[in-house]
């Protein structure tokens, strides 16, 4: 046997955010097992918030780091840290929404999801406090996302992909109200997600066959030197990108998004919309910029067509929606297209504009779902558009926040959405991809219509019998709303610091 085995050097400081997240998630499982039920929620929520904030602090302390560590499986560089920071900031807001119990008695999650819907036992648990397992699940998912962004070999990326997805599938099925829909969303998300990760895995395998390694830098080197059949390389690229585009909900891999967004409990939808998008685009940027940069001329037109398709499909179908959660799902599809425009402007400006877009979009969408969780009637949340007519007269403050968020998503000046759209479009123009910009502007105009329609309905209609009531936000949801609205306006009025930060951070370490 060989005896020259060396343990891989691990830079514990560089991976400290990951260690904190996974440590808190494991502790959360222990809390579930040993802390008495009444105290669990406080302990879990407090621990999760402290953990995410500590990880965020660790990310801030790491600013400027550029290392590859843990035997070449984790890269801590500018884009990884920037997007981990964004991810964790969104994570804090999403945790506030997940922890809310004031709005819906007992919280948005059911105590025992395994109990058959509609049975006697199910009616008994209708007002029981909800399951606290969501906190460890969310922490595992967040940890997986943070690893997904920083993974520098494809196997680690695959493990992280599963680690972030599996808890999400479970959390989708936990809604207290409308549980049949929630379970159906979980089944759809699971089957399609597992299908997509199968494609991703086979792409990884083919890349390994081509390059003899799954390391992103080694694949980059092998593009010029490998003796294997280049068909392997192209198939690998196609399959891997397909798997990643599924997670970003880009057309034609978007079909799961509307169903899952509508069916999942609203805090989980917010979590998915903001955090999963950052994670998926982080990985997509890393794979395309680090491993397959030399093939850019081959993948640019293909992903370009996908980006145009995504923007148009998302925008056009958003116009036809009557359910707000579905509307926001199609809006998230269209926004995936806008981020793709930034990704396609290959280079530092492109990457930084895409990263800025993700930050602006994430805060806006978190704010939007926070408001949706407040508009209810006796059946739970009411997401049908007609029930929102006249809400502005009844609760001007929260309706005002929703208006700001909608204007940001529509890309009206002085909001983060405008700056973000401007950044990605000018990055694309800089590298001469005018056709993407044309498609982007056209779909921005189309998708502004449904957003503005909601705003007009809220303010200009008279409240009637069917108008839903707006529940007063508790402390947690209120904080989340405040953070979302402030960030959206802040990113629009003084975008400079975040833009500069994104620009400084946007160099990938190979």
């Amino acid at each position: 046997m060989t005896t020259d085995f060396q343990l891989p050097a691990i830079d514990y400081q560089a991976i400290s955010p990951l260690l904190i997240l996974f440590g808190v998630a494991c502790l959360g499982v222990l809390v579930e097992a040993f802390v008495p039920r009444p105290a669990r929620r406080r302990v879990q929520l407090g621990m999760a918030l402290v953990g995410v904030l500590a990880a965020l602090g660790a990310v801030v302390l790491l600013a400027g780091t550029n290392v590859v560590t843990a035997g070449g499986s984790v890269t801590v560089d500018g884009p990884a840290l920037f997007m981990q920071g964004a991810l964790l900031a969104f994570g804090v807001v999403a945790l506030l929404l997940i922890g809310e119990r004031r709005v819906e008695p007992g919280g948005a999650f059911v105590a025992q999801p395994a109990i058959t819907v509609g049975s006697e036992a199910d009616q008994r648990q209708a007002s029981a406090p909800g399951a606290t397992e969501v906190f460890p699940l969310a922490m595992f998912s967040l940890g997986g996302m943070a690893l997904f962004i920083a993974a520098s070999d494809l196997l680690t990326m695959f493990i992280a992909l599963e680690l972030l997805s599996l808890p999400l599938y479970l959390m989708c099925a936990l809604a207290r109200r409308h549980r049949l829909i929630s379970q159906e969303a979980a089944v759809k998300y699971f089957l399609l997600g597992a299908y997509a990760s199968g494609f991703f895995l086979f792409g990884v395998v083919l890349a390994y066959g081509y390059a003899g390694s799954v390391d992103l830098a080694a694949i980059h080197a092998a593009v010029d030197t490998s003796q294997m059949n280049p068909a392997l390389l192209y198939a690998a690229l196609a399959l891997i990108v397909m798997g990643l585009l599924f997670k970003t909900a880009a057309a034609p891999f978007h079909v799961w998004a509307p169903d899952v967004y509508q069916g999942a409990p609203t805090p989980i939808t917010a979590f998915m919309a903001a955090c999963t998008k950052v994670a998926a685009f982080g990985a997509l940027l890393r794979v395309t910029y680090v491993a397959f940069e030399r093939l850019a001329w081959d993948w640019l037109p293909v992903i370009g067509v996908i980006a145009v398709l995504t923007m148009l499909v998302g925008a056009v179908l958003a116009v036809t929606q009557t359910d707000l959660k579905r509307l926001l799902a199609y809006s998230s599809i269209a926004n995936a297209g806008f981020v793709l425009v930034g990704v396609l402007a290959v280079g530092r400006t492109g990457a930084s504009s895409a990263m800025f877009y993700l930050v602006a979009y994430g805060f806006a969408v978190l704010g939007a779902f926070a408001v949706i969780s407040l508009v209810r009637d006796r059946e739970g949340e009411t997401t049908h558009l007609s029930r929102w007519a006249g809400l502005g007269r009844r609760s001007p403050l929260v309706a005002g926040v929703f208006t700001v968020v909608m204007l940001a998503l529509a890309g009206i000046p002085l909001t983060g959405g405008f700056t973000a759209k401007f950044a990605v479009f000018s990055a694309a123009l800089e590298v001469g991809e005018g056709w993407l910009v044309i498609a982007g502007v056209v779909s921005s105009v189309i998708i502004a219509f449904p957003y503005l329609r909601v705003v007009v309905m809220m303010w200009l209609s008279e409240p009637s019998e069917s108008t839903a009531t707006m529940v007063a936000p508790g402390l947690l949801t209120g904080t989340a709303l405040g953070i979302g609205a402030l960030a959206v306006v802040g990113l629009g009025v003084v975008p400079g610091p975040v833009l500069d930060l994104a620009h400084d951070a946007a160099l990938f370490l190979r």
Binding site: Y169, K188, G198, V205, V214, D259
Partner: protein
């Protein structure tokens, strides 16, 4: 004697059967089996490539894929069970509360 390229071809074939199976079958459990077939096709290719490159990493990766597949089985079956118990059907055509 079958060479490595035969194994790669077999694995591509298995992967395609799995991928097409997901598209044409209707039972959630069968869909799930097709997805597992895709993962196992990947395993076969991994081991073949490991042999071809004279590199053990491929075999280790196959271990990782097996473990991930097991975790996926547990999560997936739990979710399918959940929906089956309320609807008495595992056909994905019957899961139609959400559309458009």
């Amino acid at each position: 004697m079958p060479g490595p390229e035969h194994y790669v071809a077999l694995s591509a074939l298995l992967f395609t059967i799995g991928a097409v199976g997901v598209l044409v079958r209707r039972n959630a459990i069968v869909l799930f089996m097709c997805i597992e077939l895709m993962l196992n096709a990947a395993n076969l290719a991994l081991v073949t490539f490991a042999r071809l490159h004279g590199d053990l990493n491929g075999q280790v990766m196959a271990f990782f894929v097996m473990v991930v597949a097991a975790a996926e089985v547990v999560v997936g079956l739990a979710i399918i069970m959940l929906i089956f118990r309320t609807r008495r059907s595992a056909s994905v055509d019957d899961s139609n509360l959400l559309k458009y």
